[in-house]
């Protein structure tokens, strides 16, 4: 058998043998991730030469990075757009639609009230609501990226997802705070 040349620069989708799409088979991703780590992880090389140890460390790091990127819908969307040459401008472009900003402000008010009142039930409800919104945004993102190839709209959706992820983090922090 001729060795297939494995390009270290290949994209993450290719690394895991997945089609270049937002909607992925998450089972296949996990299986390929484990299969790859089983081959390249430093634990498999600890008794071998330094060059093999160093390569293994680089590969394992890359496989982890690739898996983290594809595993998270937000990171996956952002990465897919970057492969299409589109920068999502999450830090610079804050011009969000008015209704979305209103919703964000509302969410933060509810969160603050729940924290003040130590209201776990309110937090639970809020978490469910955020999950629902995130899931809807992901479906829209899949449509824009995989069907319509409308990358500008997709970029806007990634920015919205980023906002929602921040809210989710803050809810998590509030749970921790109420718990201690």
């Amino acid at each position: 058998m001729l060795p297939i040349s494995t390009d270290f620069q290949q994209d993450y989708f290719a690394l895991f043998n997945l089609p270049l799409r937002f909607q992925i088979d998450s089972n296949a991703l996990e299986q390929h991730y484990r299969a790859l780590q089983t081959q390249v992880h430093p634990d498999k090389f600890s008794h071998l030469s330094q060059s093999e140890q160093r390569l293994s460390m680089q590969w394992a790091t890359r496989v982890n990075e690739a898996y983290q990127t594809l595993h998270s819908p937000l990171a996956r969307g952002r990465y897919l757009l970057s492969l299409h040459g589109v920068d999502t401008q999450e830090d610079t472009n804050t011009a969000m639609p008015l209704d979305f900003l209103m919703q964000q402000m509302e969410l933060r008010e509810v969160l603050e009230a729940a924290r003040q009142n130590k209201d776990m039930a309110a937090l639970d409800e809020m978490e469910a609501q955020v999950k629902q919104t995130v899931s809807e945004l992901q479906q829209k993102l899949a449509l824009e990226l995989d069907e319509k190839q409308d990358y500008a709209t997709a970029s806007g959706l990634v920015r919205k997802l980023k906002f929602m992820e921040k809210v989710a983090e803050e809810i998590g922090a509030a749970f921790d705070e109420l718990d201690s």
Binding site: T6, D43, S46, E52, S56, E65
Partner: protein, 621 residues
């Protein structure tokens, strides 16, 4: 050979010598050493048949050191020179250690890590731990009949970088080659998982003498994937003793006890705690140095009440870990109990209530960590194991850097799978700014002052630019031991700076050398002999590895390349039995260099095979 453990016909591994490797559980209360013998992980006992070595070190005025039982016996009579639970001090400053007033030691504040004043001089916790490790190393080498290739040492999952570094330093001081630091709950999961061939999500609840860890793992087709870990590196069985001790003080109206009396009562408190795991009531009876009689009955119920909030403190991190893993209690298939403190009935009850199931206790909670570490050591040493499995662990705490206003910008979030690399861009805030100070911190809080400072370094020589136009890319790399290195690069000019994070209070290379030289001449000769032996072992391993690689994948190389590698191998072979460790080292380096391209080709081939193999199995399904 072990590198490509793929069952492909005709690629049988060459037989090789079994390499001596051990797993060491360096515990707060007790320490153990285990190894894999005939494919079974076993704990190695001392000459008297005892598996547990009490983690107690006593220093005498003549410089002699006692470790284990003899030291433990002296704890009440010589408390200031008899160090217990030294693990609580590893990588810790004076301000980090709670309840100092109730410990009978003379603690010395030192930058970063506190030290202990003993009759034999001031000792760092690293030195004290090294004494314990030396005993275990000797035990293992005598029992196995040869020098160790190395050891896997376990640390609490929630240990931060400073505590891990301190542990590694202690091992080096004890002359142990550290194959890997692994997290205690993960080690326990390996021991359980390989035993039961289980699949699914497991929680490991590890309450030791001084630390609490909770880890959530997924076991799937031979891969142990840690999903989340959390804990409290200053909560353990000692705190339960402390509660009883405080209760005794309160009942008796005593205060301002001498060091001897403090230790005496703490010893009684611990005995009472252990009694209450078996009986519903116990009697605490002691006569203090001034003749005062302490005599109280303590019931299990009272003990439960006074320790209730310690249990609550273990459930908070547990909830956090589940939240981080995005799992609910119902999705946890089994709960593994680790650590001697999980013998307390109230702990088992609290865990059972929380997880709505009876926790698993079929492996000895004192031994399970060492047993798992030995299994991992066996694999890392290159001994083939029958089942091919892999461990994917995470970092317990977020890593970040200080930004304007004393705020932390997280670069690598907690529970990132290691090895891992993350990069982020920063910029200058002043016009013409030519240097940037980079402060690396660890922790979850937003303010730098609430996190642990790991390192500071400067990036200098940035060309003067308008504020905000420099592009400084800071890269964090965490290796498979969970240790961090950081580099910074200004991308317009290419100016670079890097630091391997050794905490300011960690030991530096010079300290280790000095400590090693402080030993007597005999010990020094011993060290040199050991260094030579280690170098020879490494050379032989490398030769064997390359030989196997050539036998297996020689076809990937041209004739010239093979010849070149062969020449380097012959050179190394010609020096390996000569007593010149620098010549051996040189030979190793040259051979390593010569095999870089070969390693690359082999790695490409394994990566290609990983996916190819996957497709095959999918077709079969």
């Amino acid at each position: 050979m072990a590198l490509l453990q793929i069952s492909e016909p005709g690629l049988s591994a060459a037989p090789h010598q079994h390499r001596l490797a051990v797993g060491i559980d360096l515990g707060t209360t007790n320490s153990l050493v285990a190894t894999v013998r005939n494919s079974i992980s076993v704990v190695l006992n001392d000459d008297d048949g005892a598996a547990l070595l009490p983690s107690v070190v006593r220093y005498a005025a003549d410089g002699s050191v006692q470790v284990g039982l003899p030291a433990q016996t002296a704890q009440n009579t010589d408390p200031q020179n008899t160090i217990l639970s030294v693990k609580r001090f590893m990588g810790r400053g004076l301000k980090d250690v709670g309840d100092v007033v109730d410990l009978p030691y003379r603690l010395v504040d030192a930058p970063g890590m506190l030290q202990l004043r003993t009759v034999a001089g001031v000792k760092s916790p690293v030195e004290v731990s090294a004494e314990i490790l030396k005993i275990l190393r000797d035990r293992a080498e005598r029992s196995l009949g040869g020098a160790l290739v190395g050891a896997v040492i376990t640390v609490p999952a929630y240990f931060d970088d400073a505590q891990r570094q301190a542990t590694k330093d202690a091992a080096r001081l004890a002359g142990i080659n550290v194959l890997r630091l692994i997290n205690e709950p993960t080690a326990a999961a390996i021991a359980y998982g390989l035993d039961n061939a289980s699949e699914g999500v497991y929680a490991v609840y590890d309450l030791g003498g001084g630390t609490f860890d909770i880890s959530i793992l997924r076991l799937s087709k031979g891969v142990f994937e840690v999903l989340a870990t959390n804990g409290d590196s200053a909560l353990g069985g000692d705190d339960f003793d402390q509660r009883i001790y405080c209760w005794v003080l309160e009942k008796s109206g005593l205060s301002q006890l001498s060091a001897n009396d403090t230790r005496l009562l703490l010893t009684h408190a611990r005995a009472a705690k252990e009694q209450l795991s078996e009986y519903v009531q116990t009697q605490i009876t002691a006569v203090l140095s001034g003749g005062e009689l302490v005599d109280f009955a303590l019931t299990r119920d009272d003990f439960y009440v006074m320790t209730q909030n310690l249990l609550t403190r273990t459930l908070q991190p547990t909830r956090r870990a589940l939240r981080d893993a995005k799992l609910s209690v119902d999705e946890v298939k089994g709960v593994v109990m680790v650590g001697g403190s999980t013998r307390m009935p109230q702990v088992q009850r609290a865990v059972a209530e929380f997880f709505k199931q009876t926790p698993l206790t079929n492996l000895d909670p004192d031994k399970v960590v060492a047993l798992g570490a030995a299994i991992q050591a066996n694999v890392l040493a290159g001994n083939r194991s029958e089942d091919d499995w892999l461990l994917l662990d995470v970092i317990p705490l977020s890593l970040g850097i200080e930004t304007m206003g004393g705020l932390v910008e997280k670069i690598m979030p907690r529970n990132s799978t290691i090895p891992s690399a993350r990069a982020q861009e920063f910029t200058t805030y002043k016009d013409g700014q030519t240097a940037l100070s980079i402060h690396v911190v660890q922790g979850e809080r937003e303010l730098v002052s609430d996190c642990r400072s790991l390192a500071k370094f400067e990036l200098r020589g940035i060309p003067p630019m308008v504020a905000g136009s420099a592009r400084i890319r800071v890269t964090f790399q965490v290796d498979a031991d969970g240790l961090l290195s950081v580099s910074a690069r200004e991308t317009n000019s290419g100016v670079e700076a890097a630091v391997a994070v050794r905490p300011a209070y960690g030991l530096h290379e010079d300290d280790i050398t000095r400590m090693l030289q402080d030993g007597n001449q005999h010990a020094r000769d011993d060290m040199l002999a050991r260094a030579l032996r280690e170098q020879q072992t490494e050379a032989r391993q490398l030769l064997e590895a390359v030989e196997n690689a050539l036998a297996q994948d020689g076809a990937l190389l041209g004739e010239t390349e093979i010849k070149q590698i062969r020449t380097c191998m012959d050179n190394l072979r010609s020096v390996v039995d000569v007593s010149d460790h620098s010549a051996i080292k040189h030979g190793i380096d040259v051979l390593n260099q010569a095999t870089v391209g070969f390693a690359q080709k082999r790695m490409d081939q394994s990566v290609a095979r990983a996916l190819k193999g996957r497709k095959m199995s999918e077709l079969e399904n």
